[in-house]
Amino acid sequence: MKNNLIIFKNKIKNLFLEIFFPEACVICSESGNSICEKCLLDIKNQKSEENYKSI
């Protein structure tokens, strides 16, 4: 019961965010995608030393 209430609350929250805060870049606020092309390119180009390794 408690879990259902939390799920319901989260769904309402998601719906609220979608309606009142339509997608804009979360980084530079430019309207369009949640990450604009410029920011995505910047993220993509700054590589870490290794993205995968044997563990």
Partner: protein, 176 residues
């Protein structure tokens, strides 16, 4: 991609804590090629490949409504399918690794030892996948962020107990 990049930090923060699920699609666009290159470089047969997104606890799943690593894995697979014509959908096993307890948010912890202790024995292999099934499989564990590597290390330890060879387990993270 580098976690030192504040833009990536912001993007992952929104994905994890602000319900901005669509971010996973864009992050996948930025890293699917590397994931694909790795599979090719290691000459992995997709039929033997198992991709496991790091699971989150039931409590966190209820709070968040989704597992961000699972979203990222699905989007990466989708991008590879669309752009590189390789279908890995059957390689995704979202329920192979289970998180058996809730741990506090890693962002609230600092030291490597503290993180290691928190995550210790937090994973189980789902009993529906027996050891014979897992034998000779190549596993890629996928997570959104790795800093100290404690989560990967613990997931690896859990898999090692289930007939998987150490050299067949890899970790792939979006940010490091």
């Amino acid at each position: 991609m580098s976690y030192k990049n504040p833009k990536l930090k912001t993007a992952l923060f929104f994905l994890k804590y602000h319900y901005t699920k669509s971010i996973s699609k864009y992050l996948a666009k930025a890293c699917y090629q590397e994931f694909y290159d790795f599979i090719k470089k290691k000459n992995i047969n997709p039929e033997n490949l198992i991709i496991i997104p790091i699971p989150i606890s039931k409590k966190r799943l209820i709070e968040r409504n989704y597992n961000q690593s699972e979203l990222l894995a699905k989007e990466i697979i989708q991008e590879i399918k669309e752009n590189l014509n390789l279908d890995l959908e059957n390689s995704l096993y979202i329920d192979l690794l289970l998180k058996n307890r809730n741990t506090i948010k890693f962002a609230n912890t600092h030291s490597h030892t503290e993180r290691e202790n928190l995550i210790k024995e937090a994973f189980n292999v789902n009993p529906k996948y027996n050891k014979d099934f897992l034998e000779n499989k190549i596993i890629i564990i996928l997570d959104d962020i790795t800093t100290t590597g404690s989560t990967f290390y613990e997931a690896r330890n859990t898999l090692l107990k289930n007939n998987i060879k150490k050299e067949n387990i890899y970790g792939f993270s979006i940010a490091h």
